[in-house]
């Protein structure tokens, strides 16, 4: 699908990080702007970061107009992606429910539904009578500690095959001449007179006047090499899957109050996750506390799953910005660009990030769609607060 090629001593564009974001940017640079002298460098194999570890939820029912507009463009690109990449990415728009168990949560869902609809996104509040039809498996009784009062229903939301997205972008970028270099770790960023000149790697120096940091959880380590500190803090996010079951759940279910979400994969496994670990770390170890806490909450929603066994669990790194919105675009170092701050929610944004960052690189201007996510928003106190829509429902 993609090839090992010799590492040249210079490229027009070097993209650090071979996740879905870095590879999507390479794909759109080559496809839409004819920029093909591009290298994607990854210290490990492509998709070894968050892009191969996420729970693949795609949706656009965010909280701010800026966020909703942006993620909705991504959903639209995902709808066409299998055709564009000639690769089945198994995008299943099966519907997405965010449950509300308190008056406060119902108010937040109502607000999200209104903001979503103003942006033309299919999203509305539903109550237990309708929920009983959308997801009859849920315990809608008064028995749980926190009975379900309502839910935000987002029919176009769903899940996708994350590896296929990574491989599809890699395949197409490679076909157009992009070099993908795995096992190539960036160890330094060469900045002189405020301009980026290239990167040091485990395989030698590579010159480039445009360098994109798309390393997600490791974003601060690359920024530090360029002399920058960023408003992100890295924390592990864990997930797990059960043994395969007969298909019974055809909607994604999220509960912010219970800190849990569940979907059923096409193999029949229940894919489940929660919020980030309670302390920051670059460790990708799994913990028993996590599955214990999660299992208790899943059983509040679906008591009949009590005999189902967990098959495996894992963790990935998430770089959390204070407002739960990304950092995209220019930095004080000329030519050194950012596409980080993807926290626990960035996989769904891969295509639109690739597209907008490619446009930014090719035209040297910030597309309107990502202007709200510029790094300078923090010093301008112009944050884009998405915590209410992104802290559990990734």
């Amino acid at each position: 699908m993609w090839h090992d090629r010799p590492l040249k001593d210079g490229y027009d564009v070097v993209i650090i990080g071979g996740g879905a974001h870095g590879l999507a940017c390479a794909h759109y640079l080559a496809k839409e702007h004819g920029v093909t002298d591009v290298a994607v460098l990854d210290k490990s194999y492509i998709g070894s970061g968050g892009s191969g570890r996420n729970t693949a939820i795609v949706r656009s029912n965010y909280l701010t107009p800026e966020g909703v507009r942006f993620y909705d463009e991504s959903v639209k690109l995902y709808e066409q992606l299998a055709a564009e990449l000639e690769f089945n990415v198994m995008f299943s728009q099966r519907g997405h429910l965010t449950l509300a168990h308190t008056d406060g949560a119902v108010r937040t869902m109502r607000r999200r539904a209104e903001v979503n609809r103003l942006q033309g996104v299919d999203s509305r509040l539903v109550f237990p009578d309708e929920l009983a039809h959308i997801c009859p498996q849920l315990d809608l009784s008064e028995h749980p500690r926190y009975p379900i009062m309502a839910a935000l229903y987002h029919p176009p939301g769903g899940i996708i095959r994350h590896d296929a997205v990574v491989w599809g972008f890699a395949n197409h970028a490679d076909r157009r001449g992009v070099h993908i270099h795995q096992q190539t770790e960036v160890t330094g960023v060469d900045v002189r007179d405020g301009k980026v000149r290239g990167v040091e790697t485990s395989r030698g120096y590579v010159a480039a006047e445009t360098v994109l940091n798309a390393t997600a959880g490791w974003g601060s380590t690359i920024a530090a090499m360029a002399g920058l500190e960023l408003p992100i803090a890295t924390a592990p996010l864990q997930a797990c899957v059960t043994e395969p079951l007969k298909p019974f759940l055809d909607v994604v279910v999220v509960s912010g109050s219970l800190h849990v979400y569940v979907s059923q994969s096409s193999r029949g496994e229940l894919v489940m996750g929660a919020s980030v670990d309670p302390f920051g770390s670059y460790s990708m170890n799994s913990s028993l506390d996590f599955v214990e806490g999660l299992a208790g909450h899943v059983l509040e929603l679906f008591p009949f799953l009590s005999k189902v066994r967990i098959l495996r669990q894992w963790a990935g790194l998430c770089e959390m910005p204070p407002d739960f919105s990304p950092l995209m675009g220019f930095t004080p170092v000329e030519g050194f660009l950012l596409d980080v701050g993807w926290g626990t929610y960035g996989f769904k944004a891969s295509p639109i990030c690739g597209k907008t960052m490619a446009e930014l690189i090719a035209t040297n201007t910030t597309p309107d769609l990502i202007y709200p996510f510029r790094l300078s928003r923090f010093a301008e106190f112009d944050l884009v607060g998405e915590k209410g829509a992104a802290s559990v429902g990734h």
């Binding site: 960023l230 302390f279 028993l288 923090f378 010093a379």
Partner: protein, 86 residues
């Protein structure tokens, strides 16, 4: 489970504590602090891969706020102490 060294109570399970993020020195409020300095204090983090200094709060224990130095990859603690004591 991670075991956190409380300067008061000794080693206790992390579930008794609240992690409160990387330590950043706060600009003195009575000084003339620029927007940039406030934004840097509030939002910017060194997010070090290695040993850094962080805040912990012993919520379900003695109620102490304290600082600890911990390696952010191995999670091994180097030491913990009260603010100002180093």
């Amino acid at each position: 489970m991670l075991v956190v060294p409380c300067p008061n109570c000794g080693p206790r399970n992390a579930s008794e504590f609240r992690y409160a993020g990387e330590y950043r020195p706060r600009p003195h409020p009575s000084q003339d602090v620029t927007d940039d300095e406030w934004a840097t204090y509030l939002y910017t983090r060194s997010n070090t891969l290695g040993v850094h200094t962080e805040w912990w709060f012993h919520t379900s224990g003695c109620g102490l706020w304290f600082l600890a130095e911990r390696h952010t990859k191995t999670n091994a603690f180097v030491k913990s102490y009260l603010w100002g004591a180093t």
